[in-house]
Amino acid sequence: MTGRLSRREMLGVLGGIGTGALAAGFAPIAFPEADAAEPGPKRQWAMVIDLRKCDGCKKCTEACQAEHELPASFEWIKVFQVKDAQGNEYNMPRPCFQCENAPCLRVCPVAATFQTGEGVVLVDQDRCIGCRMCMAACPYGARYFNYNEPPGHQHPFQHPTPEHPVPQQKGTVGKCMFCVHRTEDGKLPACVDACGMGALYIGDLVEDVATNGQETVRLSQFIRENDAFRYKEELGTGPRVYYIAGHGQLWES
């Protein structure tokens, strides 16, 4: 912890230098290049999903589809209705888990899918050849193939980028990308924003905070005190999404 603190102190120093540089007219520090001197990425995105609160309304899915102009079959965040062996019923939203050791990355033959410095797995749909190897490799079924043209283009002149893949390109693979285009602007991901129950938290492992838009919690403490777990953690994929189970729920992975 002390190392992290000192690193943050150093950021402050660097920020001061950067501001000085900008004042001197050297470089615009708002661009990522200026961050190259930083010892680590600014954020490490994570998500916490409180299953005790989820009522299965699927507002998150709808908001996601509206945000990314996806057809109804594209559930980048999919809400599973689960009945465990003890008869408990609950709802389980599944976004992309943004695995730290993502199986989908290694198998891509053209390196079209990659991990950002902030831990989000993105797809470069200009490069993707549509072989669907990543879909076979994903242990969570989080990837979706654009068999068809996405419905109704709303931005005919916008060129999609990995950070804002709207509209999706036919014949390529798409997936939940933690709405990096929104978080970059300080906004909540569309699903978190849409969840009326406050079940979805977007968080930052560096800052150690998470918020559902209604309350902000200390991330490490929140997942520790609520016995949060990660889905199929034993695969060693290092998912960045934590689940908080309800009382007596039996977990199958």
Partner: protein, 433 residues
């Protein structure tokens, strides 16, 4: 010698029928190209289907050719002489068909070049690309080298009736072969090297095809035995294909004199050895998995043994593996008919087995409540049939221009006295005795 040269009508009927089937396949592919992969039965859960199955299947078929020929050459089996050419040509034809399937399966075939521009060497698909293209080149060389003396024979024995273009082609391809001892030595060495090389190459191809599946965390696929299992499956289906091709062309070209029941009996032995080996590998795989019943494998095994895929599985195991081996192994008469029946059943069975690997592995609930479904559309079925028809089409057209048996080897190995002119292919002006 070349009944097809005389009864030309049969040849043309075969060419027209097979071409029509291939054309239908092309039409279906263009239909898919214009609209997108949604015209197939593939979906978000089962995103690999017939195309990947066919890719594995046809490349597997091509094995038999290469491996049979290579093994028979290396062990210096004398009875191989009339078979090697047919086996090697089958290998190339099936491989050409199988190698096209990954492209058919691509969502963006227009970007296939990205595989060369931005290859990520850690991806099994890049391994496939390297292995299959190397193997394709090697198969061509393996077919071509033993063909050289026969090309020279065509060059020397053909009269002007063959036409200038065709004679020029034979002359160029024959590479100035005169049958000198020095040339014989180089050729023997070249064929020997290729026979040694083609085996590890063929093994590598099906190993990386297996790893395409085995490197994922899916229950039905993540298995250490997959690579050898795939290699054995490929050899099994390949030898079965060679038996069928040899039987068919023997009839068509009237080679009964040279290819006898003995050859089929020997090929059956090879088939049985491979089939029993495959059965053993399969039992080993399923037993260890079903004994432990890990959470990820349990649903797949249940679906295969007693669920929706059980009919396919038991038809394959009984009708496509055990029964054909018994049929081929029985002693007594009708060796040729039994070998062919067994081979046809095995080929069908091996296709089913590839289906049982790809589809349940894909449809299994990676999130434990969510089975996938898959049924092919007419597009996939038409492309499959068209591609299957392409193999005999390629073969009969090829053998129209090139000798179906290695005349050179027949003379050398079996000491057979052949009337050279009568062995010249029909289109080249032979056969009009």
């Amino acid at each position: 010698m070349w009944p097809i040269g005389r009864g030309d009508r049969k040849f043309w009927i075969a060419v027209v029928v097979l071409s029509a089937m291939v054309a239908a396949g092309f039409y279906a592919y263009i239909y898919q190209l214009q609209r997108g992969l949604w015209v197939t039965g593939l979906n978000q859960k089962v995103s690999w289907g017939f195309y990947i199955i066919n890719c594995v299947f046809f490349i597997g078929i091509s094995y038999g050719g290469a491996m049979t020929s290579a093994i028979l050459r290396l062990t210096n089996a004398k009875w191989r002489a009339p078979l090697t050419r047919l086996a090697e040509a089958t290998a190339v034809a099936a491989l050409l068909v199988g190698a096209v399937y990954p492209i058919i399966d691509l969502g963006r075939p227009d970007r296939a070049l990205h595989l060369l521009l931005y290859p990520q060497v850690g991806s099994p698909i890049v391994w496939d690309l390297v292995a299959v293209s190397t193997y394709l080149v090697a198969s061509f060389v393996f077919l071509y080298l033993p063909l050289i003396p026969d090309l020279a024979m065509c060059r020397d024995t053909l009269g002007p009736s063959a036409g200038r273009v065709r004679r020029t082609i034979y002359r160029v391809l024959a590479l100035g072969w005169r049958g000198e001892p020095r040339q014989e030595r180089s050729l023997a060495r070249g064929i020997g090297i290729m026979a040694v090389l083609i085996i590890p190459l063929a093994v590598s191809v099906h190993s990386v095809l297996a790893w395409l599946f085995a490197v994922t965390a899916r229950g039905g696929w993540h298995s250490t035995i997959f690579a050898p299992l795939f290699v054995l499956a490929a050899m099994l289906s390949g030898v079965a294909a060679v038996i069928l091709v040899v039987a068919a062309l023997r009839k068509v070209y009237g080679l009964q004199e040279f290819i006898t029941a003995k050859h089929f009996r020997y090929l059956s032995y090879l088939l049985i050895a491979l089939g029993v080996g495959y059965l053993y590998f399969m039992v080993s795989e399923y037993l260890t998995e079903a004994y432990v019943l890990e959470r990820s494998t349990t649903p797949v095994l249940e679906a295969i043994f007693e669920g929706v895929y059980a009919p396919a599985f038991w038809v394959f195991t009984v009708g496509g593996l055990v029964l054909p081996l018994v049929v081929a192994a029985l002693p007594g008469r009708f060796a040729i008919a039994r070998a062919c029946t067994g081979s046809a059943l095995i080929i069908g069975g091996m296709w089913l087995k590839r289906f049982l690997i790809v589809v349940p592995g894909m449809a299994e609930p990676v999130m434990p409540w969510d089975w996938g479904r898959y049924a092919p559309t007419w597009v996939e079925v038409t492309i499959t049939i068209g591609s299957a028809a392409a193999i005999p089409l390629l073969l009969i057209v090829f053998f129209r221009f090139f000798p179906a048996m290695s005349v050179h080897e027949m003379e050398e190995v079996e000491g057979a006295e052949l009337r050279r002119t009568s062995m010249v292919p029909a289109f080249a002006g032979g056969g009009d005795e």
